[in-house]
Symmetry: C2
Subunit: 197 residues, 2 copies
DNA sequence: GTTAGCATGTAAGGAGTTACATGATTTT
DNA sequence: AAAATCATGTAACTCCTTACATGCTAAC
């Protein structure tokens, strides 16, 4: 039950889904994709690749005659996902472990929604929404209790936090609706033009 | 130059600034305050307290006759901040190390703005804004390059990310203005009532 | 020809978690 | 009297980073 360490693994499997890649490129794409928080270092990527190689989730591509690029290339090690890896990808995407709703893990799952089916997408979106809603309820109940004695900066931080999470919940709700009614609603909710065309 | 491990230390020093507390209560207040992301565990709090005790940043309070509470209390170990700790708090608050603008570290600094002076507040706010703006610029320049080939879910994630960071930047700008013109603007920007009373 | 970036790794360590262990106090 | 929660701690482990080490290739 690989609940820990799923983050990089899932990201690599998802990216390799788009085509074979070498480590350096994986890192670049990952940092572009999840650039918001941390920058993935080689010190964690390469060992992870080795481990996945041992687990036969990925394999080396020996010859890949990319059209247009000269073949005189030595040091690059290009990986591709195996059948086992594809199965593991699906398993990880649908797994609802305790860390699956954290920011980074959710973002990775969301980024690869195109490689899954609607059932899983809905489960992930609704799970995240439920989690955020729980946090919101917890904070707001505590907020009403301790309201009087809080310093104004701490209060402003809480206000801003609540507002951000509420916004996130609305975003998730829009996405869930869009999943359920694929025809009626475009993926992007009408922020700019509130009229139907 | 304790650049790492500053997070808990700063939080503890900031909280003890409000008055003496024991470990359990520190954890509760911290989780209330920064409840958004992780929950601080005892396994990291208590060792940190021990370390700070060794460094004389905090000290045990032997007798504290809290009015109204019976004194028959044994196992609680109440800490208070020392002079050295107060100095360290100021130092950490004004330090602009590479991790100071990360979400958690920024939130902690912000939460204790009431215990610092405006100079430091402005430096922290402006530093955070600069960092976010840099990320924004980097992502948007990359976004314009790779625009065509991106999957729609990955694109929506990026769009949402950019929007969130832009919102955060605006929030910071409002706060910076409020710091610079303390009379004119209330801390909270006029969301509900745009009129002056 | 030298700087910048591509490309792959290893070793040591940091910052925290989970799980375990223990006992007192309050509530039901 | 049992259950919940208060209260303090330790040991092992995980995931990741930083710093180091190496060499190739493109650009200036």
């Amino acid at each position: 039950m690989a609940r820990r360490g799923e983050t990089i693994e899932l990201a690599v499997l998802g990216l390799l889904h788009e085509g074979p890649m070498h480590g350096y490129e994986l890192r670049k794409r990952l940092n572009l994709m999840l650039g918001w928080s941390r920058v993935l270092s080689y010190g964690s990527l390469y060992p992870a690749l080795k481990k996945m190689l041992r687990g036969a989730l990925i394999e080396e591509v020996t010859t890949l005659p990319t059209p247009g690029v000269p073949v005189t290339r030595r040091p690059r090690i290009v990986y591709q996902v195996t059948e086992l890896g594809t199965a593991e990808f699906t398993r990880l995407m649908s797994e609802v472990g305790p860390t699956a709703w954290e920011d980074d893990n959710f973002d990775i799952r969301f980024a690869f929604f195109g490689s899954t089916d609607m059932e899983i997408r809905l489960r992930v979106l609704e799970g995240r929404r439920t989690r955020l809603q729980e946090r919101l309820d917890r904070v707001q109940s505590q907020l009403s209790m301790t309201q009087a004695e809080v310093d104004r900066y701490a209060a402003e931080l809480q206000r801003h936090g609540v507002e951000s999470v509420e916004r996130e919940v609305r975003w998730l709700s829009d996405l869930i609706n869009a999943e359920r009614n694929p025809e009626q609603v475009a993926l992007r909710p009408p922020t700019e033009q509130p009229q139907q065309q």
